[in-house]
Amino acid sequence: PSIQRTSLNNAEISRYSRQLIMPQIGLKGQLKLAQASVLIVGAGGLGCPAALYLAAAGIGRIGIVDGDEVDLSNLHRQVLHTESRVGVPKSLSAKQSLESLTSHVQVVPYCIYLDQHNALPLIKQYDILVDATDNVATRYLLNDAAVLSGVPLVSGSALRGEGQLTIYNHNGGPCYRCLFPTPPPAETVTNCSDGGVLGVVPGIIGCLQAMEVIKLIVGPTAGETLSSRMLLMDGFEATFRTIRLRPKKPTCAVCGDEPSVTQLIDYAAFTGSNACDKVKGLSVL
């Protein structure tokens, strides 16, 4: 664990009483949460609810990475931010909301965009990595960084009315590259600015990411994680489907037996896209 603690104090026991009375969590599980550190990349539609519920649950330290600033058009889904904080860096805005909810959690804001130069030193300070980003390049970056750092990657995504969720690089399960060795053609990649997204859809997936993080930290008493499985949600139809995924592939370029990717690369070049998902005008209107 990242944070050395041997017990919970009375204020914590009383505060978290409703969850630590469950056999799946217990005092032991709650202490594990207090000792854990989680890095959430993206303080947007997924990162806001994920950070909110992880802070509420009593995670010891939460890092929040986002180089962007709050915009009014974010507020339909990025619910940690406020109208009065438009223009403020998202990581700082998120920290402010989380700290008013709880003083038991250390929130560390990183007002940067992750790239191949800064990702590894940062990720190595955390136990678990949460992919709450919105573009292909960063998703490959986080995957490779998770594999190279040996941390599990809780990966969520959302578009229009649909969401997807899995855990990569954990417990013999696949990594992102095991599933998708080749990046998709750039023209098939739709972001939330172009395709739209109903705000509550990343809300649901972000909450589910928090749930998976908690299970990873607490361990087997808290049930089965989504490692080697993927959850698919169609919000407009109210249907969910859990699929069984391939295991880790021996031939995988990064997590395989003879990896060719042994350090981070240029992901914008690799994916033919970049990390910026800004609006290109509301051509649909």
Binding site: E162, T182, I243, L245
Partner: protein
């Protein structure tokens, strides 16, 4: 024999399968996510595998830009194929033999957040 009766019984219905497109892959099928289809019956002694199915789907279901569905003889990067809620990599991929009432799903992976 029982086995023979069963196999005859199964063969009659072999080609009825359910296809689903999601995660954006439905944009290739005029936004129709679910398709109940009857595939052409394979000839005596032949098998109907995913390889044949992909070509059939491209020719019969995909309305535009088939190159955003198939590349070479398999799906383009970024599409995940599931047979009965299982990643087709666990099932021989292109060589998987399609069975009656299979549900075959093509999901495009999402990147937004």
């Amino acid at each position: 024999s029982l086995a023979r009766s069963l196999s005859l019984f199964v063969e009659t219905y072999l080609m009825e399968v359910k296809l689903e497109f999601s995660g954006g892959a439905e944009l290739l099928t005029e936004n129709v996510k679910k398709h109940q289809v009857k595939l052409p019956e394979p000839k005596e002694g032949e098998k109907y595998t995913m390889k044949e199915l992909l070509v059939w789907v491209k020719d019969n279901i995909i309305k535009e830009r088939p190159e955003l569905f198939l590349q070479g003889d398999t799906v383009r990067p970024g599409i995940l194929v599931l047979v009965n809620d299982t990643d087709w990599e666990l099932l021989d991929q292109l060589k998987y033999e399609v069975k009656a009432n299979d549900t075959i799903v093509f999901i495009s992976t999402l990147h937004g957040g």
